[in-house]
């Protein structure tokens, strides 16, 4: 057994590709999701066309610029300049205050702001408009309390889409942990087992007196250790690079992760048992495990918004339950009492996959 594990480590450490997947990938993914694919906005260039130039529009402009989300790139003089400003390409939004803004607000209790957005990146545009509206709405509430003592409203075209306080990296870290553990455990083991089949070394191992459980343990033990190291790397990155809070028990988190790792390994063995080549194993883990993990686990797209049949499918995704557990521990800081159901489901799935994989793993060639 020990020799088997040692041999497996040699394979991993001597193969640059495995090393990149094992150690480069987690770091790259966390940083990517944390920085690049962030859904937060920051320092967006905007232009303001103030047709009124009164104290309220000035104050509102200041609010926008001092929020930290926007940088005032240009003060436009007329409507004609708007298109040119967008065409230069450095601004994403133009905020237009109508004529006699303050007067109208006083007289009629309402005034109009128009937001024009560069929608070539629809998601960003959506978010920028949401942030702008948010700031304007907050301001109008303040006005109402302080100066007017009567209901006023500044009307914008857009609605608040989501809570601007939501930091996306907090949502991504549990998802990335899940993907990485799935990738390393399931994909790497299934590939390494099918590689032995493909190269023909499996034939030589099978004719040895080793029992199936010894072969399986020898193959997967290194990946348990490596997955665990990965998990710790991701947690450290989350803590020190993104200052992500960790409210719950670390030990509980690690234990739940081990459960998930074992589940993923069993899946990997199962995949290797039914696939004949490395390529097939890779495709199966990619499309059978990774994509559903990303798309259906609630990691990126909220499950509540999915059509009903997809919501049912999401229930059989082990990753969905694991992400719920992770979020509960890391963000809510609650204990086992709050997610024993999810843990139980994960545990049952793990047992099922282990039994299946040991059964499917044959000591013969057919």
């Amino acid at each position: 057994m020990w020799a088997f594990i040692k041999k497996e480590f040699f394979h991993i450490f001597r193969d640059i590709r495995s090393m990149v997947i094992l150690f480069g990938m987690p770091i790259a993914q966390v940083l990517l999701f944390g920085f690049a694919i962030t859904t937060d906005i920051k320092d967006v260039n905007i232009a303001i066309l103030d047709n009124s130039k009164d104290n309220i529009t000035m104050e509102l402009s200041n609010k926008l610029v001092s929020s930290g989300y926007f940088i005032l790139n240009d003060n436009l003089k007329s409507n004609d300049q708007i298109e040119a400003a967008f065409k230069r390409g450095d601004i994403k939004e133009v905020v237009i205050f109508e004529n006699d803004f303050a007067k109208k607000l006083k007289k009629e209790g309402k005034a109009n702001v128009q937001l024009i957005l560069d929608a070539s990146e629809p998601n960003t545009a959506n978010m920028i408009s949401a942030y702008t509206s948010g700031i304007i709405n907050t301001y109008s509430l303040e006005l109402m309390k302080k100066s007017f003592k009567m209901p006023v409203s500044i009307i914008t075209d857009t609605k608040m889409l989501y809570n601007p306080e939501l930091k996306s990296v907090y949502m991504f870290v549990p998802g990335v942990i899940t993907i990485i553990l799935m990738l390393v455990s399931a994909m790497m083991t299934s590939i390494s087992i099918t590689r032995e089949k493909e190269v023909g070394t499996m034939e030589a191992i099978l004719v040895s007196p080793l029992r199936p459980i010894q072969i399986i343990l020898g193959k997967v033990a290194p990946y348990v250790i490596l997955s665990f190291i990965n998990l710790i790397v991701i947690l450290l990155l989350a803590k020190f690079v993104f200052a992500m809070p960790m409210y719950g028990s670390l030990i509980l988190l690690l234990l739940e992760s081990i459960l998930f790792i074992v589940m993923a390994l069993a899946l990997g063995i199962l995949i290797s048992a039914i696939s004949k080549s490395q390529q097939q194993a890779m495709m199966l883990s990619m499309f059978g495990l990774l994509l559903p993990t990303i798309l259906l686990s609630g990691f990126i797209f909220p499950i509540e918004n999915m059509p009903l049949p997809l919501q049912w499918v999401s229930h059989i995704m082990p990753s969905k339950w694991f992400i719920i557990i992770l979020k509960n521990i890391m963000l809510k800081g609650v204990g086992m009492a709050y997610f024993w159901k999810e843990t139980l489901i994960l545990f049952l799935m793990t047992t099922f996959f282990i039994v299946m994989s040991v059964k499917k793993f044959k000591l013969r060639l057919e």
Partner: protein, 307 residues
């Protein structure tokens, strides 16, 4: 320390292909037994059945007293198997490969060094080299060392000489002869007919059946019919040109630098005249036709032709 192998009307089907058709044969203790046959004749399937990697659809195989289906764990302990593609880890060094195979059979390289000394000595200078960087002949010796490391009583080698140069092939057979003297029963398959004469007994296989089963000498003795060998100045086109002769000529095949032909009851003079005439008209010179002593290849080709 050797075992006999008894194969009783073994059958194996893969979907619709019958890989083995009720094949029976007995291999004696300590024998060096060869399986000769083209690709797809069932050699590898038979070996996988003996090593219990496959389960037969009919019949049974006994290794000594052990049944290949029910006592497969015991069989695996006493069998050394070298699969068709040398099953080595290319990213591990020579030494690491050996240590690994030793450990999965619960032994160590140190403990059993004497068993593989003859083979391993030849590759020991390269023991730090990765197996993937070895030449074909060295890979084959390493694979043999790996198969021998646990002191097997039965050694099964599936096409060990395929893809290996002629010198290494010769050395390899010398090693096998040495191994045999230590009392191991050796089963070896090969697509090269010339290697048949190095075995104690050979089985000629085709399409899952036995065509012949005897010692190489007896197989040659049983050859009936006449055999001629010929050569000419233009050996490149000789086979194509001969095939147009037609009457009286049965088989034509290249044999080393010459061409062997068999005929239907013609004597040497008749063959000579028919062939010389035809070849001369096609621009061949120095045509030599003479009687040839049949080799084991001739016997096999003849037998395969009959079936």
């Amino acid at each position: 320390m050797s075992v006999s192998v008894h194969i009783n009307s073994i059958e194996k089907k893969f979907e619709k292909v019958e890989a083995l058709k009720k094949l029976s044969l007995n291999i004696e203790e300590g024998e060096l037994f060869g399986f000769i046959g083209p690709d797809g004749s069932g050699k590898t399937t038979l070996f996988r059945l003996i090593t219990s990697l496959l389960i037969p659809d009919g019949g049974n195989i006994k290794v000594g007293e052990l049944d290949s289906e029910t006592d497969f764990r015991e069989i695996r302990k006493i069998t050394g198997y070298m699969p068709g593609r040398f099953s080595l880890y290319h990213d591990l060094s020579v030494e690491e490969n050996l240590n690994f195979y030793a450990s999965i059979f619960n032994t160590t390289l140190k403990k059993n060094y004497h068993l593989i000394k003859d083979v391993y000595e030849q590759i020991e200078p390269f023991k730090k080299r990765k197996a993937g960087a070895l030449s074909g002949g060295m890979k084959q010796k390493l694979a043999l060392s790996c198969a021998l490391i646990h002191k097997p009583e039965l050694l099964i080698l599936d096409e060990p000489t395929t893809g290996v140069d002629a010198v290494s092939r010769k050395e390899f057979w010398e090693l096998l002869k040495k191994m045999q003297k230590t009392g191991i029963t050796i089963l070896v398959s090969t697509p090269y007919m010339d290697e048949a004469s190095l075995c104690d007994r050979v089985a000629l296989m085709q399409k899952g059946s036995l065509l012949a089963l005897d010692s190489p000498e007896n197989i040659v003795k049983k050859y009936d019919g006449d055999l001629w060998q010929l050569s000419s100045s233009n050996m490149h086109t000789i086979i194509a040109d001969l095939s147009e002769v037609g009457s009286g000529i049965k088989n034509i095949f290249r044999f080393g630098e010459k061409v062997h032909i068999t005929s239907n009851g013609l004597n040497l003079e008749e063959v000579k005249s028919v062939i010389t005439e035809e070849l001369k008209s096609k621009g061949h010179n120095n045509i030599i036709v003479e009687a040839a002593k049949p080799q084991i290849e001739d016997c096999f080709l003849d037998l395969m032709e009959e079936n």
